[in-house]
């Protein structure tokens, strides 16, 4: 077992003029990628080896825009799941639901100067996973539980993981 800490930014735009939300409670937050995709926030590398596994034990979110909205993070093991469009109500097909591994929630935040830090609770305990698709990536479906108006670069997410085995040290 090896302890990992992954840091991901959640850009909502490529830098072009962005109107910024507002998101309504229950809306999906899809990060911007140069090659558009609809499977949430990719978290890589979440495994030492292709198709490897591990356990999610912590999640921290930095809210750069001071919105303080409760957030749900649905964890998926495959890029094959499909979320709704950014800023649309969270609704997925049964096929996608089958790829879900668990849920963590950020319910409240503490202030850190100009922004907020939210620490997720794990009401069902740590979340074991095995990366699907023969890959090394997990995917997070982020859903806001309150209205929020986010700018282009609103959120950063840190995942704390224990990966199986003692593979090549990850970046």
């Amino acid at each position: 077992m090896q302890t990992r800490s992954l840091w991901m930014s959640v850009p909502l735009t490529s830098g072009v003029p962005y109107l910024g939300g507002p998101y309504a409670a229950g809306d999906f937050i899809q990060p911007y990628y140069a090659t558009p995709r609809a499977n949430g926030l990719g978290c890589n590398p979440a495994s030492d080896v292709a198709g490897g596994g591990g356990t999610i034990v912590s999640l921290t979110v930095v809210d750069n825009d001071n919105q303080g909205a409760p957030l749900d993070f649905f964890v998926f093991d495959s890029f094959n799941w499909t979320g709704p469009a950014d800023n649309a109500p969270f609704s997925i097909a049964n096929f996608s639901a089958n790829e879900c591994l668990g849920l963590v929630t950020v319910k409240s935040y503490v202030r850190h100067g100009t922004g907020l830090i939210g620490f997720a609770t794990f009401p069902q305990g740590p979340i074991p996973y095995k990366c699907g698709d023969g890959g090394r990536t997990l995917y997070l479906g982020i859903v806001t539980r309150a209205p929020a108006t986010y700018g282009p670069y609103p959120l950063d997410v840190r995942l704390g993981l224990y990966t199986d085995g003692f593979g090549t040290p990850l970046p």
Partner: protein, 158 residues
């Protein structure tokens, strides 16, 4: 140790209206097999998470019992939950889905709580078996439920 995620796709027999306390299961008397729960015969592991995908949008609380041996004997699908002492001796733990979160207008996620902590097991073979017992009165279609297990196997795979 090897982390594993197993998606179970049971086909229910009765696929009809259940009442509180009914067993919800497939053909046979061993419940829903989950394999491989071990990479070697008679190997062990630990159950850490369970997610119920309710595509029938019923949202009914569910108890899930785990058994280490196919020889345990369930009641018939849609019959009241009752097992004999020998079967009870093969039970290694239980989790509950008490509440659900919608993933669409017609589907629900049920995330199980582990009120007694993670569940260690040692398989009689390489499989563990699940028994679902409803605590409400749902109506399920034959393939209306999916179960995803998260577990740690003692022995890493080859």
């Amino acid at each position: 140790m090897e982390t594993t995620s197993i998606l179970l796709t049971p086909t229910l027999v009765a696929a009809a209206a259940y009442t509180a306390g009914d067993y919800v299961g497939p053909t046979g008397t061993s419940g829903i097999p989950a394999s491989p729960a071990s990479n070697v015969a008679n190997g062990g592991g630990t159950l850490q998470s369970l997610l119920l995908v309710d595509t029938n949008n019923q949202g009914v609380p569910m108890d899930i019992y785990f058994f280490t041996d196919a020889a345990w004997a369930s009641p018939a699908d849609n019959a009241p939950w009752s097992i004999n002492d020998a079967s009870a001796a093969a039970c290694c733990g239980m989790v509950s889905v008490n509440a659900y979160r919608p993933y669409s207008a017609t589907g629900l996620f049920g995330f199980a709580t582990f009120p007694y902590g993670a569940i260690p097991y040692k398989c009689a073979g390489t499989t563990i078996y699940l028994a679902l017992v409803t605590r409400g009165g749902p109506t399920y279609t034959p393939t209306g439920l999916r179960v995803r297990l998260g577990l740690y196997k003692d022995d890493p795979g080859g």
